[in-house]
Amino acid sequence: MRRPHRVATLVAVAALVWLVPPSPAWATAWTVPVRAGSAGLARSQTLPVPAPSAACQSSSAKVIVVSWSAASHLTYAVSQSTTSATGTYTQVASGLTTGSWTSATLGNGNYWYKVSGTVGTNWSTGASSATGESTIENATPKCTQP
């Protein structure tokens, strides 16, 4: 009598296990479809064109300081003209990461400056508008902005 009961019990247990529906809890991995376009939002920084200004370092020095508001991650170049605001510009500094550049001691004459910023291969602010005219001369003040 005992053996048939044991068999019946085992059959009952097996049936119970078989009848319990598969549950996610019993799986080790699930793949669930996701709606197309499930992602996120990122944003890139602006590429502001510099608006430089020029100032004399002092009235007794033949030195000009060019300043602008630097944007993050950009490197800047400064170009100089000695003929006019719309004249030909020659680059005098590059790789600047701050918003200021100080010239070396300059010869007598008039000076205008433009600044441009770059980052990466293709991002460039383009040249800024020209600074106001700065004049260097021997008489004091040796540097003026008319």
Partner: protein, 202 residues
């Protein structure tokens, strides 16, 4: 009479075994971690009705703090919606390839395309994406989305822009390429406070 007693005893033994099986099954249901993966665009796959999809969407707020620039990385902001009646804890994300670019838009509404900054030109990808689709990247801290809840999260510096990105992609909002999946465990857990900050760093 003694036969009847023995039968009753055996019935009790059988019921005891059945009860133990039920207890074990219940404990298994409660304690087992479920791994939930998300397959991009695979909405036709069969699945158990007991697990609903996690939905991950772009969101404009909070605004990303770290902005993309050529050769640099930036934040990605998402909302994760869990429609399931239990918390789900995300432990890793699976990324598309490193040639799957984000699409550029003029505003955070992501409705007007940015000219010259499309998904074929933007050079904006998920950071640490590889040449193989589905590469898995473990989150610094697991993110738990509560039952039938939404979690907003910022993935710090997990978007990347190559140095060759076009200038047209400056001052642009990006809809990142679709994730190919996430790894998640389901079950009792305390929901992460929204908005959260997280990342993967390799």
């Amino acid at each position: 009479m003694s036969t009847l007693i023995r039968r009753h005893g055996r019935v009790r033994v059988g019921l005891g075994i059945v009860a133990r099986v039920l207890v074990a099954a219940t404990a298994s249901y409660a304690a087992t971690n479920w791994v939930v993966g998300l397959g991009a665009g695979s909405s036709g796959q069969g699945q158990s009705a007991t697990i609903a999809n996690l939905t991950i969407s772009a969101v404009a707020s909070p605004s990303p703090s770290n902005l993309l620039y050529p050769g640099g990385t930036g934040d990605v902001v998402v909302t994760i919606t869990n429609a399931n009646p239990y918390p789900v804890t995300i432990t890793a994300v699976q990324l598309p390839t490193n040639t799957s670019y984000a699409s550029g838009y003029t505003t955070s509404a992501l409705t007007t395309a940015q000219t010259g900054c499309s998904s074929s030109t933007s050079d904006v990808i998920w950071n640490y994406a590889t040449g193989t689709s589905g590469s898995s990247h473990t989150l610094t801290s697991p993110l738990t989305v509560g039952a039938s809840a939404t979690l907003t999260a910022t993935f710090t510096n997990d978007a990347s822009m190559t140095s060759a990105a076009p200038a047209a992609c400056a001052n642009t909002y990006f809809s990142m390429p679709s994730l190919t999946g996430v790894s998640a465990t389901g079950g009792a857990a305390t929901a992460t406070v929204s908005p959260a900050t997280d990342s993967w760093t390799s």
